[in-house]
Symmetry: C2
Subunit: 246 residues, 2 copies
């Protein structure tokens, strides 16, 4: 693990400062430090679980042909789906349509259960960006979404965890080969981050490093081999992944 | 970890022999050994993922009001739901009906992906028993089954992993307070264990300790606080858990 130091708008002056253990709790530095440009970033965390929320933007619920549910609808992606920035999203041979879904993701900072919304902030280490990659044809065929969203490489996370950020009104933009496909703000989340932490933690104990994907806005669409998908969330950065056939 | 030694039909003469590391690959013994009756068994494995299969017995698909799907329908339970034998299943306050679902479970023995059915046996460490506990009302309300099946304590596993067992035709019996509620044979699985390993590993990399729950037969029904549920699979043993209010 490392802390990224510097200003995001001066990417050539960013550094990765190695920390001695893990990022949960006070960190101490080893003293080793590299220019970020010389470092290959992996996924910023290996979660024990990735909890996702369906239809959490009204415009996306509409484009999927349904009304948004009153309560959050949750599902899980397996940890084996997680990859980092610039790792390839591999399209499985048995799907004819694989979509990007750009999302804000909250990373849990401490073991917790039954967290009321007003105390959710204390349970969160920070925020990162996620691509909830989905084999749309398998999602429709199965009813349950696990296969469609659970393939290896179907959960890009990164590029890092921003630990000082107010998530309530951030611009979220997804580009496919540089063309804007999703353009929304997190203020449009039907269930905001504190509500999601309350809802999910009422069901299951959350552990440090667990990730909650908050849902995707309208504009989802398919990716082809050779394309590149980039998701930018204001105040965090950009998560970029190339797309390849399996 | 320990190896259970002795004959299952003479429970007073069973011993737990401690092994030095993990049960994947050749094991070496520490020499420490206790009567099994003096040992408290935890879940036999802490899986990175629990992959479950819906409607994999025709009679259960019928009792749920649907036809069995042509392909397996998979879903995930979070690892935080796992508990061992004799640990309490805690009924959440926000569900009015929580059901037992007795199942045969396969435990993966090595990292694997794209395993053909005919090589599945080599990927499996052994077999244990699972209770795919389900908040039936939440399952019906959500569509996605993650909340209904993901509450803490909703995945009892155990009592141990049987590593020399042919899973193709085993009696499976679930008793609630000693009354038989499910009574089936694994020969009735619509998709057998090798087929499930092939199907799941085509989607996601399986890791040592991951568990595949093979589905439940007809006879599911609700549990009340104070009751005890026991699932027996021929050749493995009995998984018993008390039921408590949260």
């Amino acid at each position: 693990f490392a802390v990224v130091e510097g200003e995001p708008d001066a990417p050539q002056q960013l550094f990765a400062a190695e920390i001695s253990e893990h990022p949960f709790g006070p960190v101490s530095f080893t003293g080793r430090r590299w220019p970020l440009a010389d470092v290959r970033l992996l996924a910023p965390i290996l979660p024990t679980k990735v909890v996702c929320v369906g239809k959490n933007y009204a415009d996306h619920a509409r484009e999927m042909g349904g009304a948004p549910p009153a309560d959050p609808v949750i599902f899980l992606k397996p940890s084996t789906a997680v990859v980092g920035p610039h790792a390839a999203i591999r399209l499985p041979a048995d799907s004819s349509r694989v979509d990007y879904e750009g999302e804000l993701a909250a990373v849990i900072g401490r073991p917790c259960k039954d967290v009321p919304a007003e105390r959710a902030a204390a349970a969160i280490l920070g925020y990162t960006i996620a691509n909830d990659v989905t084999a749309r044809d398998q999602q429709q065929a199965d009813g349950q979404w696990t296969r469609a969203k659970g393939h290896d490489t179907f959960c890009p996370l990164g590029p890092w965890i921003e630990t000082t950020l107010d998530p309530t009104d951030l611009a979220l933009r997804t580009e496919l080969d540089g063309e804007v496909r999703q353009d929304a703000r997190t203020s449009l989340l039907l269930h905001d981050v504190p509500k999601l932490v309350e809802f999910v933690s009422r069901v299951m104990t959350l552990l440090p490093g667990d990730v909650i994907l908050t849902g995707t806005p309208a504009g989802v669409g398919p990716m082809q081999p050779g394309q590149t998908v980039s998701i930018t969330v204001e105040g965090i950065g950009t998560l970029t992944n190339p797309v390849e056939a399996k």
